[in-house]
């Protein structure tokens, strides 16, 4: 049994080479003897201590012996080691001091741990989403190219047309390799069970560009893409969870949208694609995607492009070259794509480093996360102010002790080092407590945000050097912040004579303490107001009239059965399906669509619409629906009629518009019978046959959502045949019963399988997740803040009573009543709170405005929120004054004057 390797390494590092071998030998020999006598564990601990002991000796020897070989560097190193050793001793002494008052130590560690833990949680999430580099070779060489449609949010962009990518690729010379990918969700069947998979359609050079090799089998290359091979590389996670980590997975098949796809490889464990937060389950050749998505092969789009810089090329060079090439490439692409001409011409490039991948999910949550980080940072500052006050009081009672140390020759630095050491001990304990808490809550929050409790996490949350750095930095920063005031006081205490030192806190301590508490109150007001606004917003969103009723609506995702020949008349089949579902017992209404209400689907993006006269234009969501859609979702008609199955391709193209669209396109006129031009697709003219009331079908938050509905049965027969419809059922039956019913009916018709069934209310809940997370975070910080303010105010008042015992005694002896004493204390409590409120209310206005900018329902200056926050602070002040009041009430003149 040998000594721990680091102990011998330590000695080798510090000892002269000639001496090192014998010292290490001694350590080994002593360790062996100890192991025989006392067991491995005790021996290891003792050997570690001994190694430190000898190491200190070696350092001290190097410092003290003025041998010619000793350089200034050695001396400086030695001095530094001595300072560190002293500081270490102070920290240990600090820990020992805290052991004497475990209650207050625990309270402080908890306060710091809870606020620091929350900050660490958010930093961990932020790190995983935005800071972590992709697990590919030399990620810093990667450049991402994405496109934004002029005037549109990025997540509403369809992507970059394949022809645009090809033009860019031919003309560029900054990348050694350039590739594109398109991520999409799809229903799939693996070993007879339905799944939803996230799939990336990739270019032939995708894996080569990223430098990713298969963990098993091979990757998708140019041969597979050119040959449109129905093959897939599956992710490591998909291999583990869906194929049971079978070694013979290569050659097995899965069915995607009815198409049989063969597995040719497994990606490495860490690699989950370029979209951070949306890990891919499989990669297929991009050329296969139109077949899987039943779209026109000419209309292929990449979500984004990624290139690897040539040696010597920079991001700046890539940016300037691609921006120069973009307009001509865009024009050529638009000319070759008449169907998407208008869309393509509106595209602007966005070129940035892809070392950290792309994160659409991150963009979606960025605002929420940033606001929460801000709140948690404020809470942490608040905890620091709180602890600073408590430490100030603590150190002021030890002034006599400090003055003696100073008189015996301790320098100011040594005295302050004690204060900082004690704070450091405290903050280290808090960080140690908060680290596991943070990891756990980051995991829970991720599960909540992605609502995937049964799958492994979509993010890599393992702590990396950045999170560890933040942790250590946080501990140091907190220690310094917390000890600033007490250290300043200790510094000035040294200057005083011993005779002047009192055993009780001075007046200035309580004065400083009161200012600190007032600052805490001031900071807590914005947090409380924010929490109120966020909670009120969610409450109103949940209770708001959305213009339709999601309750009782069940969503059924289907996929094509394999090996089924195309239907002779797809519309006939859809009519049969809708009729069969409607006739099933317990089903009130049934409808078919291609996209789910309240979630972003391919059809959920906004398209340009113009009135037939060409005078007015709007962008509106375009949704393809079957007859019965509005009845199923309980959306009332304002005018006109619903689609009927006879509105097929033999008739004129018809549309139903929402009231908002009617108002915008045909102001002051009747919309029925008018024509609407739908752009971006091959221009299509539709006749308005109905107007429905406005409903928030796209998302629960935004107001003024404009919709144009087209008839599903008027789509090209090939699209109808290849696409799997989404079935919406309205029924009072429980979801489980409907699932059985729907499965039997749909599968019985012999064309589709059921992949998954869920209530529409679940979709609404997921859509409200950012608000829920905001409420969770804001309430947590508000609660913590209230607790901190209470503790701070209580501590200051208590100290004030202690300090004034002689004064109170004297006043009582001179005839003051207990009531007078109480009034003084209450006045002190409320004046402190009032100062805090006066400072805090303007801050709350500012923070309210910041938060309200991302909210939809509640304004920034909600009177109730301000009233509630002020009332809560006053209630806390009342509570915190109760115990000090009792203590003051028990003081008798004799005792008080006696103690003097």
């Amino acid at each position: 049994m040998t000594a721990p390797r680091w102990t011998t390494a330590l000695l080798r590092q510090l000892a002269a080479p000639a001496e090192a071998e014998t010292l290490v030998g001694d350590l080994e020999e002593a360790h062996r003897a100890r192991v025989a006598r006392r067991g491995v564990l005790v021996a290891t601990i003792l050997t570690a201590f001994e190694a430190f002991d000898v190491a200190f000796l070696l350092v001290r020897r190097r410092v003290r012996l003025p041998r010619p070989s000793v350089s200034w560097l050695d001396v400086k190193l030695g001095m530094r080691m001595l300072v560190i050793a002293n500081f270490f001793r102070d920290t240990v002494r600090g820990l020992r001091n805290w052991r004497r008052t475990p209650g207050s130590a625990l309270l402080m560690i908890l306060a710091l741990g809870l606020s620091g833990g929350a900050l660490l949680t958010l930093v961990t999430l932020f790190d995983a989403l935005f800071w972590r580099e992709l697990p590919v070779s030399h990620p810093e060489e990667l450049v991402g190219v994405s496109a934004i449609e002029r005037g549109m949010p990025q997540y509403e962009t369809d992507g970059i047309p394949l022809s645009l990518f090809n033009s860019l690729d031919r003309a560029q010379n900054v990348f050694q390799s350039f590739a594109g990918f398109e991520q999409f969700q799809s229903a799939a069947v693996i070993a007879n069970s339905g799944q939803r998979l996230t799939i990336e359609g990739v270019d032939g050079r995708y894996f080569e560009t990223l430098g990713v090799r298969a963990a098993l089998g091979q990757v998708v290359g140019a041969r597979e893409v050119d040959g449109v091979s129905p093959v897939a590389v599956i992710s490591f996670r998909c291999w583990q969870t869906r194929f049971g980590a079978a070694r013979d997975v290569i050659g097995q098949t899965l069915r995607v949208q009815g198409e049989s796809v063969t597995v040719i490889g497994v990606a490495p464990r860490a690699f989950t694609g370029l979209e951070v937060g949306t890990p891919s389950d499989a990669w297929v050749p991009a050329s296969l995607v139109p077949r899987l998505l039943k779209s026109s092969p000419g209309l292929s789009f990449f979500s984004a492009l990624v290139g690897r810089l040539r040696p010597g090329a920079s991001l700046q060079a890539a940016r300037s070259q691609l921006e120069t090439l973009w307009p001509s490439a865009r024009q050529a692409s638009a000319d070759s794509l008449p169907e998407a001409r208008q869309y393509t011409l509106a595209l602007q490039p966005r070129i940035e480093s892809a070392a950290r991948g792309f994160s659409a999910v991150g963009m979606f949550y960025r605002h929420t996360l940033s606001l929460l980080i801000l709140s948690s940072a404020i809470t942490l500052v608040l905890s620091c102010a709180n602890l600073s006050g408590l430490l100030l009081a603590r150190w002021s009672t030890r002034e006599a002790d400090l003055a003696v140390q100073a008189a015996l020759g301790a320098s100011n630095g040594r005295l302050v080092s004690q204060v900082v050491g004690e704070s450091l001990a405290l903050s280290m304990a808090a960080v140690l407590l908060s680290a596991p808490l943070a990891l756990w809550s980051a995991k829970s929050l991720t599960v909540l945000l992605w609502s995937q409790p049964n799958l492994s996490l979509p993010l890599d949350l393992s702590p990396d050097y950045r999170v560890l750095g933040v942790m250590v930095g946080l501990a140091g920063l907190v220690a310094v912040c917390v000890s600033l005031l007490p250290a300043a006081r200790v510094w000035s205490a040294k200057l005083r004579l011993i005779g002047e030192v009192r055993g009780l806190p001075g007046r200035s301590v309580t004065r400083w303490g009161r200012w600190l508490v007032a600052a805490q109150v001031a900071l807590s007001v914005p947090l409380l107001v924010t929490a109120w606004i966020v909670a009120a917003n969610l409450h109103r969103l949940e209770g708001a009239n959305m213009g339709f009723r999601p309750d009782g609506v069940i969503v059924v995702n289907t996929t094509n059965q394999s090996g089924v020949a195309p239907a002779a008349d797809p519309v006939e089949y859809l009519i049969e399906l809708a009729t069969a579902l409607r006739a099933a017992p317990g089903i009130g209404a049934a409808a078919l669509s291609w996209s789910e209400p309240l979630s972003f689907g391919a059809d959920g993006r906004r398209r340009p619409l113009t009135g037939g006269d060409g005078l007015h234009g709007v962008r509106s969501f375009v949704v393809k629906v079957s007859p019965g859609y509005f009845e199923t979702l309980s959306v009332p008609f304002v005018a006109g009629r619903d689609f009927s199955w006879t509105d097929d391709r033999n008739q004129r193209d018809v549309a139903i518009i929402s009231e908002g669209v009617a108002r915008e396109l045909f102001p002051g006129a009747d919309a029925l019978g008018r024509r609407v031009r739908l752009g971006a697709q091959p221009d299509r003219f539709l006749e308005v046959i109905g107007v429905v009331a406005d409903a928030k079908l796209a998302m629960p938050q935004a107001a003024n959502q404009l919709f144009l509905f087209t008839a599903l049965q008027q789509e090209p027969p090939r699209s109808l045949d290849l696409s799997s419809p989404l079935v919406l059922l309205k029924s009072p039956l429980p979801p489980g019963a409907i699932e059985t019913l729907a499965r039997r009916t749909i599968v019985g018709l012999g064309r589709h399988d059921v992949v998954e069934v869920h209530p529409l209310e679940h979709t609404r809940d997921s859509a409200l997740l950012p608000e829920r997370v905001m409420r969770l975070g804001a309430s947590y910080f508000a609660g913590l803040t209230a607790l901190l303010v209470f503790v701070g105010l209580y501590a200051v008042l208590n100290l004030s009573v202690m300090r004034r015992i002689p004064e109170i005694g004297l006043r009582l002896a001179l005839g003051a009543s207990a009531h007078d004493i109480r009034v003084t204390l209450v006045r002190e409590a409320f004046s402190t709170a009032a100062v805090g409120l006066i400072l805090g209310v303007p801050l709350a206005f500012a923070s309210g405005r910041l938060v309200a900018s991302s909210l939809t329902v509640v304004g920034a200056h909600d009177a109730l929120a301000f009233g509630g926050a002020i009332a809560l602070i006053l209630a806390i002040s009342t509570l915190s004054v109760l115990i000090p009041l009792r203590r003051a009430g028990r003081i008798t003149p004799v005792e008080a004057l006696g103690s003097r």
Partner: protein, 109 residues
């Protein structure tokens, strides 16, 4: 007049180290065995760092010499630094012991 240099005397821990080195002999006396011997006989815990420091001091005063011994398997194949008291060292032990004996003679302890 030539002045003979006074015989060195030893501090208490130096005395213990010197005596332990003398007892263990030139083949066995090294830092680990010296520390173990002192602990075993006096019952007090000995930090090896102190033994190193004392050996260094005694060597600087010329009271003992050190030399590398054989490599041993129980030491991970590392050699021992063996300690041998010099004539001056033995004289110093004698002088210190004589001083102690002279001082304690007749005193009931």
């Amino acid at each position: 007049v030539t002045k003979t240099p006074p015989t060195a005397t030893l501090a208490e821990f130096e005395l213990l180290v010197m005596v332990a080195a003398m007892r263990l002999g030139a083949d066995e006396a090294h830092a680990v065995s010296i520390a173990a011997d002192i602990t075993q006989r006096t019952g007090r815990g000995v930090r090896r760092a102190n033994v190193y420091m004392t050996l260094q001091r005694l060597e600087d005063k010329g009271l003992l010499t050190t030399a590398l011994g054989d490599s041993r398997p129980e030491r991970g194949g590392k050699p021992r630094r063996l300690v041998t008291p010099t004539r001056e060292g033995v004289a110093a032990v004698r002088a210190t012991m004589a001083g102690i004996n002279a001082m304690t003679r007749g005193v009931r302890i």
